[in-house]
Symmetry: C2
Subunit: 251 residues, 2 copies
């Protein structure tokens, strides 16, 4: 994975990296995809560099696929992080030794890297990361139980979560994260899990209904002893429309 | 302004630039601040490079001050643009001649520059740009009458406007853009100008009142012959609060 100065100079945009915050939801759990290195047990976001022949959006997809095996995920750019000295000046001896490169060969990594943050929300049950790689492996970690991360990756993760929560006010969420037919309480649980707080049942029903993306089915949830709740599915045409134009009718 | 390869290599982050989209509002006009070069009459957004010893947010402020003389403006980062080949491969002969540098000295500019976009909304009447510089001058241009811009600057401008319009749904706008005391129709006109469409009067009144940032004064607008409208001012404490937490109470 790691390359020497000269190889990198030709291949990658200098001083620029990509970091991906992949949130995974399944069965009322919100997780985040992290990388654990093999050489020093540190945790980080899946990230990498920008090939000179790739647009940054494309590079983000490539980075994610190369690092984790995940493919076909729609990544949204959310913010760029570029504080002076955000990455450490030099690669540590542990890293140099691990890759068998000299200090000079590692120099390419010593300048400031400005990093473009991308995020996505997927069903982690359907999105098993490739668990193997030379430098490390990817793992789904509960978002409430995130270990120490390298550099400013915690800040990047927090900003992504803030963006995701803000996005709940702007676009519908849920398609591909819930079963095809679901109850309103199940949808509410998704929102509560992302927001990290409980919501008023009536209020939620009123607001979610007002968006107009739910189609009430003539079916009730089975296997429920008492007062079986109604099943719904997304009206995909309206869902797409609201995804495009936003939830708020605006001004 | 333009420097040779070696000077730049030491001073600036390679392959990275900043572009600022400064919207100016005054008296129902929405303008945007553009730079016109002296050597080829091309128009562009005010932009520049990122000094190695500055955070990117700080560099954005520096760029804006150096290029336009505008200072003390709060810039928000909104998106980063990094398509392959977005900037042309080499400086044109006109530019090289203008600055009196050789093609080799200009090489630093020939790689892809990934650019971080920042935007702001200010009162253009209070924010007179410095009209002078070696390479060009800054000018307020009506946002409906933007000339051809270099590279992908039109795309950057459009994305900034889209972000600004989206922001109207999230945070209050108006402080520093309207007189201290204003009427609701004046505030509505501000929203209409930014959104580029007219709004229903009653609907606007209802929505803007619901946000809770307006304080109704015991005064009417003078110099109005008939049915003088009420004057309002922003309740700054609540304004700040909503600015921090967002307009929508959310879920």
């Amino acid at each position: 994975m790691i390359k020497t100065v000269l190889e990198n100079k030709e291949k990658y945009q200098p001083g620029l990296s990509i970091d991906c915050v992949i949130f995974g939801f399944h069965d009322n759990q919100l997780k985040v995809l992290l990388m654990k290195t093999r050489y020093d047990d540190s945790w980080s976001l899946p990230g990498g560099f920008v090939p000179v022949d790739q647009d940054i959006d494309q590079a983000a997809t490539t980075v994610l696929r190369n690092r984790t095996g995940l493919d076909g995920i729609f990544l949204r750019q959310f913010s760029t992080f570029g504080r002076v000295g955000r990455n450490s000046a030099n690669l540590s001896k542990v890293v140099l030794d691990f890759y068998g490169i000299t200090e000079e060969e590692g120099l390419w990594y010593s300048s400031r890297f400005v990093t473009v943050g991308y995020y996505a929300l997927v069903d982690f049950f359907k999105s098993a990361p490739a668990s193997d790689g030379k430098s490390g492996y990817a793992e789904w970690v509960d978002h409430n139980d995130v270990p120490n991360l390298i550099i400013d990756h915690k800040e990047i993760l927090d900003k992504a979560l803030e963006t995701l929560r803000m996005e709940l006010n702007q676009v519908p969420v849920g398609y591909n994260l819930l079963p095809e037919k679901f109850t309103v309480p199940e949808l509410q649980k998704l929102y509560e899990t992302i927001l990290g707080k409980s919501l008023d049942r009536r209020n939620f029903l009123r607001k979610i209904t007002a968006i107009g993306i739910l189609e009430k089915l003539d079916e009730k949830k089975s296997n429920v002893a008492y007062k079986a709740p109604n099943l719904y599915r997304f009206d995909l045409e309206k869902y797409e429309e609201v995804l495009k134009n936003g939830i708020t009718q605006g001004w």
